[in-house]
């Protein structure tokens, strides 16, 4: 029997995200690929003490107008309500933006903990978590502040750091199309962190531009197979 994965709106899809949950948020940072409607729903829902795993920390509605003139809600919406305890990512704040993003302000005030992870290491830690691996060795970060507290190993004459896997309770994902089983395809550079995060959470919630019936997606073109997907919401962008 098919499992029913299609939800009618974002609010019902995120209703059970609990206080203290770890939540991965897909995309790269700016609008393309970011599950903005699921983020807005999580802000309305109000779960507290969240640990967020995302590439960028978000800039908030005001600074987002520098990226998209009409502005949009990014992860910044979640800091505004004090929902975030810790952020794990590669760019908590953008050096090219003024130091007024919500996360940078809260971090300065000591209200949010940061774990800074090089972008490729972040992607690979998520993939390791998704694939049931105990970690991996990488040359990225050797000789930099990133190596603090990590096991080092020399392999074939080069120094490597041990990096550990990341998983989450929930992942919020943006895809272009889904079929009702949950097979996903993406569009352009909006793919980025979405496919790896979709694989690494216990419950993966996806917003899509278009929902289709099984058989309408080319099986050769499916990027995320449906077994990784728990919930799907079709959203008018």
């Amino acid at each position: 029997m098919a499992i029913h994965k299609v939800f009618s709106n974002c609010d019902s899809a995120v209703a059970d995200i609990f206080d203290g949950a770890t939540v991965m948020i897909g995309g790269f940072g700016s609008w393309g690929g970011l599950p903005v409607h699921l983020i807005e729903a999580l802000a309305r829902q109000g779960a507290m003490n969240l640990t967020l795993i995302a590439n960028q920390g978000g800039v908030g509605f005001e600074l987002s107008k520098r990226i998209k003139p009409e502005g949009y809600q990014d992860i910044g919406a979640l800091y505004a309500k004090g929902q975030v305890k810790k952020f794990i990512g590669s760019v908590p704040a953008l050096g090219g933006m003024p130091p007024t993003s919500p996360l940078e302000i809260l971090h300065r005030e000591g209200k949010v903990e940061l774990e800074m992870v090089p972008q490729g290491t972040l992607a690979e830690r998520i993939r390791a978590g998704a694939g049931g691996l105990g970690g991996f060795y990488t040359t990225t970060g050797v000789g930099t502040p990133v190596e603090a507290g990590k096991e080092k190993k020399v392999i074939n004459g080069r120094e490597y750091l041990l990096e550990l896997p990341l998983t989450a309770d929930f992942a919020l994902i943006k895809a272009h199309k889904a079929d009702t089983l949950g097979n996903l395809v993406y569009r352009g550079t909006a793919r980025c962190f979405n496919p790896v995060m979709a694989m690494a959470a216990r419950i993966t919630i996806v917003e899509v531009d278009q929902l289709v019936e099984p058989g309408e997606l080319d099986p050769e073109a499916v990027v995320t197979p449906h077994l990784f997907v728990s919930r799907i919401v079709e959203v008018q962008q």
């Binding site: 790269f28 940072g29 700016s30 609008w31 393309g32 690929g33 590439n55 960028q56 920390g57 990226i67 998209k68 990512g89 590669s90 760019v91 908590p92 704040a93 953008l94 050096g95 090219g96 130091p99 996360l103 940078e104 971090h107 300065r108 940061l114 800074m116 090089p118 972008q119 490729g120 290491t121 972040l122 992607a123 690979e124 998520i126 993939r127 990488t138 040359t139 990225t140 970060g141 050797v142 000789g143 930099t144 502040p145 990133v146 993406y186 569009r187 352009g188 550079t189 909006a190 793919r191 980025c192 962190f193 979405n194 496919p195 790896v196 990027v223």
Partner: protein, 220 residues
Amino acid sequence: MKTRLDEQTIALRVAKEFEDGMVINLGYGMPALCANLIPEGRTIYFHSENGVLGYGALGIDEEKDYELINASDQPVTPMPGMCFFDSALSFDMIRGGHVDMVVLGAYQVSEKGDLANWGRPGRPATGMGGGMDLAAGCRRLIVMMLHTTKEGGARIVNRCSFPLTARSCVNKIFTDLAAIDVTEEGLVLRELAPGWTAEEVQALTEPRLVIAPDLKEMEL
């Protein structure tokens, strides 16, 4: 005051390093300008860590497709043969040495080619992005930077005081004053911006520069 090269002109000089058929990643900020300045007759496959290979020139902001951007959040134009992939695969390309050349900006570069390009005093929340992976994994790393700070201090230094991106990773430095190679014998001054002397550039550079026997004016 002597004239220094503007960013566009430094980018023009850097782009002359691009060899036909190379896969090249352009870092955040100034390096992105190089996408529009490929020397005629050469085909370059630009890689961006957000998951695209083979994009064309930078696009127009007014016509921005937010799902076709580079890692600097700039619109790029599609090209025949362009392909998309996820972040994990993108960094396999980078760490695995499949990208031929990377151009990055920098706050500081040391005599040994150490790079500092992400953290700076007063901004503890600005992250390294993909810079550490790019610096650790690429085959050839070019730094494109202004030679001095706004206050006139050296950015090419004996030892980086800013947090490192990677050790001994830089191969060449292009600034608004000079082109410098990082070698086993030290920093070799190869080219000067028009109107500048080796002594003047040395005075704005902390480590001792080795003057190349064929030191010449930058061809632009």
